[in-house]
């Protein structure tokens, strides 16, 4: 076959040399990290527009539409009130258990949905990926932006519940803002990690519910965190108390619930903030680098 070895019969250069001479690059090559970050920043308008569009379309098939953004967390809280406040009617020694529980549930849901929807951040957008070239990291970031908007809604509901159950407004309430920002950074990193793994391992989606259920029980959402210290050996309790979701839940409870601090927060505020920053930086940076290293693989296969 003539077409395999021959390059440019006239000048005697190979095709690779010809490509190099004219500055052609290998198709689908991954740009260096700094250039990639710059490109990503240039796509900020795309990310905000895409997340707004996703929020707008997420309830487009329902009659009540956007109202569900508030109704979903409210219904959630109502169910927990019914089970733990009326039926079981035990507060597990936590004063204001309903508010304690709802804070845990809402904060946990934020990271849970990051992990769940992260797995489909790439696989759910294959059409877009295969048609257009843009930094793929824009997709997991968009997922987090959508969830952040939903989180803000549930925070409004939570504030209502907390006040309604008789908690005072203190200056500590201001701390909820940095706590949520740190959790969001952690979530972006987690979403990127899940997106890369999920793009390769299509079975991950089937396994995630089990992992998340375990994580739920290990995060002190449904009971007092102090329970770990009472029931588990010291090293296990310490390990569980360093678990990122538990750290962010404790921070939110520390900020919003005057009745829970200090009796029902296992760690000191200093330890909580240190851990929260550490987890955010480690996952934010680590997740981004991990995702970037897989850039040329997305959309293939």
């Amino acid at each position: 076959m003539a077409n395999t070895a021959v390059a440019d019969p006239n000048s005697g250069v190979t095709r690779a040399q010809l490509a190099q001479r004219h500055g052609l690059r290998i198709a689908g090559e991954r740009p260096p990290l700094a250039e990639y970050t710059r490109k990503l920043w240039a796509y900020r308008h795309f990310m905000t527009a895409y997340s707004r569009a996703k929020v707008a379309s997420s309830f487009s098939n329902t009659q009540l539409g956007q109202l569900w953004q508030v109704l979903t967390p409210l219904t959630n809280a109502a169910v927990y009130y019914l089970i733990f406040g009326v039926i079981i009617s035990q507060n597990r020694n936590v004063p204001n258990f309903i508010a304690y529980l709802c804070t845990g549930v809402f904060i946990f849901t934020f990271t849970q949905s990051a992990a769940l929807q992260g797995t489909s951040a790439i696989t759910g957008n294959l059409g877009l990926i295969r048609a257009l070239q843009f930094p793929r990291a824009a997709l997991p970031i968009t997922v987090t932006l959508v969830q952040f908007q939903q989180l803000l809604m549930s925070m409004v509901v939570l504030a209502g519940i907390v006040l309604f159950t008789g908690e005072p407004i203190t200056f500590r309430w201001l701390l909820i803002a940095p706590a949520l920002v740190l959790q969001s950074i952690f979530n972006v990193g987690l979403t990127m990690i899940m997106a890369r793994i999920g793009s390769k391992v299509t079975d991950l989606k089937q396994v995630m519910p089990f992992v998340l259920r375990t994580w739920l029980y290990g995060s002190g959402v449904l009971y007092s965190v102090k329970l770990f210290e009472d029931r588990l050996p010291g090293w296990a309790a310490t390990a569980l108390e360093s678990n990122p979701i538990l750290v962010y839940i404790e921070l939110a409870r520390y900020a919003l619930l005057d009745s829970a601090y200090p009796e029902h927060i296992a760690s000191s505020p200093l330890r909580l903030w240190t851990l929260a920053v550490t987890w955010a930086v480690a996952f934010g940076l680590g997740g981004f680098v991990y995702f970037w290293r897989g850039e040329e693989e997305y959309g293939r296969g």
């Binding site: 290998i26 198709a27 895409y50 877009l128 257009l132 396994v207 293939r300």
Partner: protein, 266 residues
């Protein structure tokens, strides 16, 4: 092969002042197909596969492109023809950087954009919003998008039968969807645009308009690849044609010669 000498000579002569945009160097593409679930899909089995890093047992390898080489230059429109399953679409995806070649290499100038029939945007969103998002995703600035959006909707012709631009894309007919997608993708100047059967879905009027658009893109120093089963639309838009058969480059040369040979063979 006798077919080979003529186009190779052609390319070498033309190379004298022209800039290559796509260099395909002895490319082989082998990809994996999932044959679908054949059991072993329980969570336990899934976990086991993740831990042991093995592939599911139901994967088969297909050698779709076997040692294809060619060079495309600025301002060329190149048609790709061949029977079904001859590797045309696979080759385009390799040029777009979406399928890694198993051997050989593809070099491109800038980032090629692939426009296929199933390049779905967001079906739950209105056509207008899809236009905005698509343009932003191609790297346009918000001001540019604002300026171009009406033109894009106008070009796609989706508003010819009432106000469809404000309806969700899932309510569009397949032809309308394809027209809108083509209108969005072709709104930007691409160094290399790969079109995979996307023009086939439109009606005659739209086809004429899109062929005009392809010519404009080509004239603005881009390179356009067109995969189509419609030989007439290739004759209308492309001056060079590559004929693939079972993953092997069968012929590469002026459209009329290659198309005549292709039709003569049938």
């Amino acid at each position: 092969m006798a077919d080979q000498t003529q186009p190779a000579g052609n390319a070498a002569v033309a190379d004298a002042g022209r800039v290559p945009t796509v260099v395909v160097d002895d490319v082989h593409v082998i990809y994996k197909i999932h044959k679908g679930a054949t059991g072993g899909t329980s969570p336990v089995a899934a976990l086991k596969r993740i831990v042991s890093r093995t592939n599911a047992p139901n994967i088969r390898e297909v050698h779709a492109v076997k040692g294809v080489s060619f060079t495309a230059y600025q301002g060329e429109a190149i048609g790709l023809i061949g029977s079904n399953g001859s590797g045309k679409s696979t080759l385009l995806r390799a040029v777009a950087g979406l399928l890694p070649p198993a051997r050989g290499a593809v070099y491109t100038l800038g980032q090629p954009s692939l426009l296929g029939v199933n390049a779905a945007l967001l079906n739950d969103l209105s056509g207008e919003r899809n236009v905005v998002l698509g343009c932003l995703a191609m790297g346009m600035s918000p001001e540019e998008v604002k300026r171009l959006a009406p033109e894009i909707i106008e070009f796609s012709g989706i508003n010819e039968r009432g106000d469809f631009a404000s309806l969700p894309m899932r309510t569009y007919s397949s032809g309308m969807g394809a027209r809108l997608r083509f209108a969005i993708s072709s709104a930007k100047k691409h160094d290399v645009l790969l079109i995979d059967e996307a023009l086939a879905t439109g009606d005659r009027k739209f086809r004429a308009r899109s062929e005009q658009r392809v010519r404009e893109l080509r004239d603005s120093a881009g390179t356009v690849f067109l995969v189509s089963h419609s030989i007439s639309s290739i004759r209308d838009t492309c001056e060079r044609t590559i004929w693939l058969e079972s993953g092997v480059l069968r012929m590469d040369g002026p459209t009329d010669e290659v198309c005549d040979a292709y039709e003569g063979q049938k």
